[in-house]
Subunit: 240 residues, 2 copies
């Protein structure tokens, strides 16, 4: 199984450069990549933006929405990539179209490379339950692709949220922190959660999970969270 | 119908003073309030904290978890208050216990006063779909108490999230803003959404909705969002 899971927030030149390097290393010599833009509302615009901003990394991205039969497109795909947006909308569409099972089978049984960013990373996990998104639509189930045996919290950050009130002024916001939310997740669930900071990646290759780009925070039920370093193989921490 | 809906973030003395004033004005001369702590994991500790921090406003709060029969407790309650925490967990428990229907009937048909804060405000809406919380458990449905005909986004703030990296240093975070999330909600739903800032309240009294404490931002599908001022009657904006 080959998956590259990104946190999102690819908004600086340095982050973009790492994104392109990792994406090219991951997909290698494939001719085209089936791109699933379902987490956003405007699919054509999403594909345009990916090309305009160079986030196709030189590959031809083909939007699944341009195919009459999305399941046939998945069957023929050399590689699959799922982008960010709203994870509830993405999961709902993957479920109702039948794409969830089709993608899972191609990636796990036929070993085609998968890339996810943000929402596309959330759905690579056993469930979408560590998303940060608003539940704008109700999927039948929170179960997702289960390509990896752990959860990821994308766009992870430590500490409080601050709100900018003027050029130099920031006000602390008292909603739950990410750590609070993940602790609440572990009050009701056992799966380990990787808090993946913006601009960083998990390279998952046949059971070896390598962290790229920034430290991550690893949360396991009943344990204190720990910081892990880039280039570390996380696999040994992810047994549960 | 009488509901007082708070955004949460009652962490300064000024905010606490407003909270107590509004709560006393709302509940008046009732003897005790049935408090539902199901959004948090540790119910006893939640009740203790409410009393320790003076957030009972002088009333006796009785935890629903101390009753053998929660539905009987709802039937006898003079007043009901639901506190904050995780909205998915709260909704799940309200549904599986049968409390959702029982509370709805007492507040809408028998006119007992209801107060919600944060998650307790989310569930007063037609659905819990404008929560900020992590989906740590799957409720049967996203439908909630529907005491009011609009949605509230609690802990609302405008603009980006910033993360503190040292005493004076803040880093912009690129996850979706609240406005992005609410726009996405309106890509799939019609209900108006009130972005309610921390420390502020909606006093809902037989169709009159008064904003207390801070400006709010009102989002309607197909319209630009507008700012509304404290003490304004929002009812005319909430037709849809």
């Amino acid at each position: 199984m080959r998956a590259l899971l990104g946190s999102g927030g690819v908004r600086t030149e340095q982050r973009k450069s790492l994104y392109i390097d990792e994406m090219r290393r991951h997909f290698g010599e494939v001719d085209s990549i089936l791109f699933i833009p379902w987490a956003l509302n405007d699919h054509d615009r999403y594909l345009e933006l990916m090309h305009e901003r160079g986030l196709n990394a030189g590959y031809e991205l083909i939007g699944i929405h341009t195919h009459v039969d999305p399941l046939a497109a998945i069957e023929k795909a050399e590689a699959i990539s799922i982008g960010g947006g709203n994870t509830f909308r993405l999961t709902w569409e993957l479920q109702r179209s039948g794409a969830m099972e089709a993608i899972r089978r191609r990636v796990l049984n036929e070993n085609i490379p998968y890339m996810g960013v943000s929402a596309g990373t959330n759905v690579a996990c056993p469930t979408m339950q560590t998303t940060n998104d608003m539940p704008i639509v109700q999927p039948t189930s929170f179960a997702t692709l289960h390509l990896v045996p752990f959860q990821v919290n994308a766009h992870y950050f430590s500490g409080s949220t601050w709100v900018q009130t003027s050029e130099d002024d920031f006000l602390e916001h008292f909603g739950e922190t990410r750590d609070d939310r993940i602790r609440e997740f572990h009050e009701m669930n056992e799966l380990p959660v990787i808090g993946l900071r913006e601009g960083s990646y998990l390279r998952c290759h046949d059971g070896v999970v390598t962290l790229i780009g920034a430290p991550a925070r690893l949360f396991r039920a009943g344990h204190e969270p720990i910081e892990v370093s880039p280039d570390e193989n996380l696999s040994s921490h992810l047994k549960y």
